[in-house]
Symmetry: C2
Subunit: 269 residues, 2 copies
Amino acid sequence: MLVNGKTSDSISVQDRGFNYGDGIFRTLLIRQGQPVQWQRHYLKLQHDCAAINLSCPPADTLLSDINSLNSTSTDGVVKIIITRGVGPRGYAITDSHSATRVVSISQLPSVDNCNYTSGIALHLCRLKLGHQPLLAGIKHLNRLENVLAATECLEAGTPEGLLEDLDEFVISGTRSNLFLIRDGTLYTPDLSRCGVAGVQRDRVMDWAKKHGVACKVTQIRSPELLLADEIFMVNSVFGLWPIGEMAGYKRSKHPISWKIQEWLNDENH
Amino acid sequence: MLVNGKTSDSISVQDRGFNYGDGIFRTLLIRQGQPVQWQRHYLKLQHDCAAINLSCPPADTLLSDINSLNSTSTDGVVKIIITRGVGPRGYAITDSHSATRVVSISQLPSVDNCNYTSGIALHLCRLKLGHQPLLAGIKHLNRLENVLAATECLEAGTPEGLLEDLDEFVISGTRSNLFLIRDGTLYTPDLSRCGVAGVQRDRVMDWAKKHGVACKVTQIRSPELLLADEIFMVNSVFGLWPIGEMAGYKRSKHPISWKIQEWLNDENH
């Protein structure tokens, strides 16, 4: 891994990413040495950095980091972390901070193929996401809610979980976005109060647009999920997993989800 | 500074404190080589670690770290960070994590004496705290809200800010707890949905108990502050600052606040 372009596996104890979670990150695939959907990921990185007034490194700098790590591996997962770096004590952002960037590549996680075909079981998380409109949609480093929710899923033995917010609206998975299909229309939760708006979510919306399928960003409650023809989760690493079962819901066929899955697998889209 | 008891100024890039803010911290005074209010701080540390299922190092281990850093300095600020350490990729907590502890000592910040006498000006922060009952009261490493709020104060030129929650209840300062005094009774915000319950807040409650003064933990709205006889902020580093002014509020005498301030300054209480 690289820290500010240099081979290193450590950062300063005084880094604000460590002290306050004061930073942004992204996780994306690399295939045959090339970052997948790079343009989209870089735009999100820029957007998220701007949301917390953090300077985003130039795309060329990050691509150069990725390339220099990439001599031996061809397929894997790239993680990019940008923090506000080291600065004087105290919460406030001052002019004296210089961003820290960390780029690392790890192996592709092994995934059961059934997750893609018959679909996964979804645990309904007890943890409910809190609201913070100023940080909603952003992939920042304050991820304790995700840590606690993902631990619930591990204990429940499911590969993902369903997260509602404190008002019991459906928001997302612990590391993925959610879509449901009903009567030929796609629905995905409004993320203006919490959740992370991922690249794969944007791509599903693009699929809908290009195929003349309506896609509505809206408030969804759990009981509405039970009426769905299909439900699926997406993220940039695993792609698309249909939901095979959750409490009160069981589906074995996922025709539209499978079509979108295939479309997403084509990196040119 | 020490990382797991060894002199170091760096931690692993894979530390979960850095990646997810998956940890707890405390900041306390050290005077003449002795950590101030250690018992209370250690109990909070234990409580907060338990809240996120993190193993807390023994008190002796932390005291030994503090002592070994303390040969040259006598007065200062100790910061203790406990994280879930390095583990496999992914949000979920697994059995394989081994906690990271970081102990550092820095100089006392210089403070304008007027903050203690005539009191400070308080900026009303635009940022409103989100709710997360599972993490409320806990001094965890997910502090982006505090970063953004403290930056507002820096820009406003005030030493502290007033934080409300999304429902517009008064919660705290950006790094301190709030009390108001009205007709001889103390009131402090309920922190069951957000905020950090600090050691100095507990000590003020103890003062009230020992002096036969009623102290109510309750929901407070900003307009109620304007009716207060006195308002003050407390934390473990600066002690007690009366509020001299905020929008619609101005007080120059703080008789009860000064009494409590004096009592808090006695480390035996």
